[in-house]
């Protein structure tokens, strides 16, 4: 039997200043599943993603494809889960797009020729072929977001964890990202409060509030349940609000 892509048991985490962020969370994600993590600001979505990548130490157990997220395994874990942070400027810290997208594979000590191929392939996948020699500060917001995606794709990961993929994007670029996510066939964990994006790109939704999971089920059920959403300080996706008003 193949192990789950993500297995989390009784995860608890407080920031060093004492702010509790996660208060005992357990769930499991199967390979190929597409999961939306929704919840109001401060619910702990970003914190959960960061913990999945092993960037902070928490109480409880996390396993990625059967390997525990502990310091000894981090190298292996980071070949399996890639993260796209909310602000692309945090993720694109190199002088050129090439250096940014090549950063992961080079750290994994891949040979030069393979690195070049991976970079070209990753940029191709996000529709930015030939952007290698540009600098991040010459790009538009949407292009930066896509390059951020490419930096994770070049690592050839199985799980993509995305934090607010549609924040600060104009409607057209947002639509392009949604289309891209729909076509992507990796295991997805998307933290967002863009419920329309969640509805269109995922098949399972978890509602997080005050560091706890309030609901977990098929996206089509959870995101159409007005009572549940309002109870969690959320709103129905816009597309359903309009049909109800007619």
């Amino acid at each position: 039997m193949t192990p789950p892509a993500v297995q989390v048991n009784n995860l608890r985490f407080s920031y060093p200043d004492g702010t509790p962020a996660l208060n005992g969370i357990s769930f499991s994600i199967a390979p190929g599943e597409r999961v939306a993590l929704v919840g109001p600001n401060g619910a702990g979505k970003s914190t959960l993603l960061i913990l999945l990548g092993g960037l902070l130490q928490a109480d409880g157990a996390i396993e990625i494809f059967g390997s525990s997220v502990i310091p000894k395994n981090l190298h292996e874990i980071r070949n399996k889960i890639g993260m796209v942070f909310q602000d692309p400027d945090d993720q694109l810290f190199c002088s050129t797009i090439f250096d940014d997208v090549a950063f992961g594979p080079l750290n994994m000590r891949r040979p030069a020729e393979e690195v070049r191929q991976r970079v070209a392939a990753a940029l191709e996948q996000v529709g930015l072929a030939g952007f290698e020699h540009r600098s991040a500060f010459h790009l538009s917001g949407g292009e930066k977001k896509r390059v951020s995606l490419a930096t994770a794709l070049s690592m050839d990961v199985d799980i993509l964890a995305l934090d607010e993929p549609s924040s600060n994007l104009d409607p057209r670029t947002r639509r392009a990202i949604i289309r891209w996510l729909q076509k992507c066939n990796k295991t997805l964990v998307i933290a967002t409060h863009d419920l329309d994006l969640a509805y269109e790109t995922t098949n399972r939704t978890m509602i997080l509030q005050s560091g706890r999971i309030m609901a977990d089920g098929p996206t089509t059920e959870i995101l159409t349940n007005r009572e549940l959403l309002e109870h969690s300080n959320l709103e129905l996706p816009l597309q359903f609000q309009q049909t109800e008003n007619r």
Partner: protein, 257 residues
């Protein structure tokens, strides 16, 4: 937001754009060195150097007006420093002005030195403009690296350059927000809000640094930034650098003899 980027034209295509940054750096530095050693009174020597430099600048295929504008921006600073030289250097007076007890005097030697410095400065400035026009900042850093500049310094400079504009944008947004809320503020309030703004900017940069580090770790970073060496030092780079430097030296030696 838009900025006038320091390396606006540096991604063009010409022989010099594709030259190895290390070889280019050595070439420019030695060229400047041969010029700045020209003594006052030998100004005719400058002409061939100026011609050589002009050929180099034209070969970059950057519009010459853009090049001129870039170089001339630096000139006022040179003038600011050198403007007193004709008055201070002692020697044969060529021009006097008596104001009460004060005597202002321009000397022949002073004038020649001033003229000499201005010519040197122009050649040096346009040589650096040449370097700037053909070399993106990160290539320059790679050039420095190939001469053994410590990685910690070149990497830090690379990241600083990358985030210069990000932080400037952040500052502009915060200033805008401040201006839209402070209407006819008192001076003390202005200062108070400004100091808070600087503090917040500092904190945000600090937090960004932390998030950046997380993003690096997520991609397997373990303390050393690995780069692919795109630039191999080629024979034609060495040949070009040698050619330019030798021509400059030869000119210099023949003309001063």
């Amino acid at each position: 937001m838009k900025h006038e980027f320091l390396d606006h034209h540096s991604c063009g295509h010409s022989f010099f754009h594709h030259m190895h940054p290390g070889a280019k750096l050595v070439m420019v530095v030695l060229f400047i060195f041969t010029v700045v050693t020209i003594e006052p009174g030998q100004e005719r020597i400058f002409l061939p150097f100026a011609v050589l430099l002009l050929i180099g600048l034209l070969a970059t295929r950057v519009p010459i007006l853009h090049t001129l504008a870039k170089g001339l921006k630096v000139l006022p600073f040179v003038l600011m420093i050198t403007i007193f030289v004709p008055f201070l250097k002692e020697g044969e007076p060529v021009w006097n002005l008596q104001i009460g007890p004060l005597m202002i005097q321009i000397t022949d030697e002073g004038w020649k030195l001033f003229y000499n410095i201005i010519l040197k400065a122009n050649i040096a400035i346009f040589s650096v403009v040449f370097l700037n026009l053909t070399t993106p900042f990160h290539h320059l850093l790679k050039g420095l690296q190939s001469f053994g500049a410590p990685r910690i310094i070149t990497d830090t400079l690379a990241v600083a350059y990358r985030y210069l504009f990000v932080i400037t944008d952040e500052k502009d947004r915060m200033l805008l927000a401040r201006r839209s809320r402070l209407i006819h503020p008192s001076l003390s309030l202005q200062w108070k809000s400004l100091s808070q703004l600087i503090g917040v900017l500092f904190l945000r940069s600090y937090e960004r640094g932390e998030r950046m580090y997380q993003a690096m770790c997520m991609r397997g970073f373990n303390g050393v930034i690995v780069n692919l060496d795109e630039y191999m030092l080629q024979k034609k780079d060495i040949a070009a650098a040698c050619l330019v430097v030798l021509t400059a030296l030869l000119l210099r030696i023949c003309m001063s003899a």
